[in-house]
Symmetry: C3
């Protein structure tokens, strides 16, 4: 395939921290991002009875996506974890993505 391997980073976050996360993503090296609105529910209660915990979430969320080099993806995840995971509802995952590079064609 004509393309280069990158990482897709998908971040679901409660709306009040979405703008901060966009700023973080740009500052950590992303050349772009996209943003969508959705609804989500998740629970993170852990313990003997898997009881609902303080990090459970149900409501509208911002979905922020960016496609970046692997090091940038890891830096974003580390930053999110250290900065937000304790006190905010933030969920993030990575997937492999092959991008169509403009400079391969024009």
């Amino acid at each position: 395939m004509a393309g280069t391997m990158f990482k897709l980073v998908v971040i679901l976050a409660e709306p009040e921290i979405a703008d901060r996360i966009v700023d973080d993503v740009k500052r950590l090296g992303a050349r772009g991002y996209s943003r969508y609105e959705g609804y989500s529910e998740w629970r993170r209660g852990r313990g003997p009875d898997d009881a609902p915990g303080p990090h459970d979430f149900a409501g509208p969320h911002a979905r922020i996506e960016t496609v970046v080099r692997s090091e940038v993806a890891q830096a974003i995840l580390d930053h999110l974890a250290v900065t937000y995971f304790e006190h905010y509802a933030v969920f993030a995952y990575l997937a492999d993505a092959t991008i169509a590079r403009r400079d391969r064609y024009v």
Copy 2:
């Protein structure tokens, strides 16, 4: 990468069965899901002339996503196939996803 391999399950479904599918996804083991609204068209007519069939679809859809362990992903796909594929417009796919686990950081 600091993360654990999971499966992203993406389900596109006609809106009237979206709530049922969310219930299915939670009952089958997902700890969370997210939901978006979109528009889609697809055709599944098969035969010598690839004629449009009864499962063709064009209209608004609900997009339901969840990130789960591989066994849960397979259980969700099997359930969708057996329960909905015959009579409803439902499309689903899986992709690998590496999640940022809160318990790795805090």
Copy 3:
């Protein structure tokens, strides 16, 4: 997993060319697509100072997704690159996707 490997193609494009891209995607072999609305920013300035260039973009975009065979995915990317990359804000990437095939179940 009960499924077949396909390619997910994700295209982010400025809204005015979204309908054309949907037509392209269908003509190039996709049996379906889905479409969402979002907001995005990206910059593609390149040069010694990485200065903002004419292809920078900030605003609403259409997100067009399709899951297709690998050859169709490559044909779509090649077509997008040749047709739009020079004059429009279009970003595209591929990821592996395993689909739940109806004909495996019914």
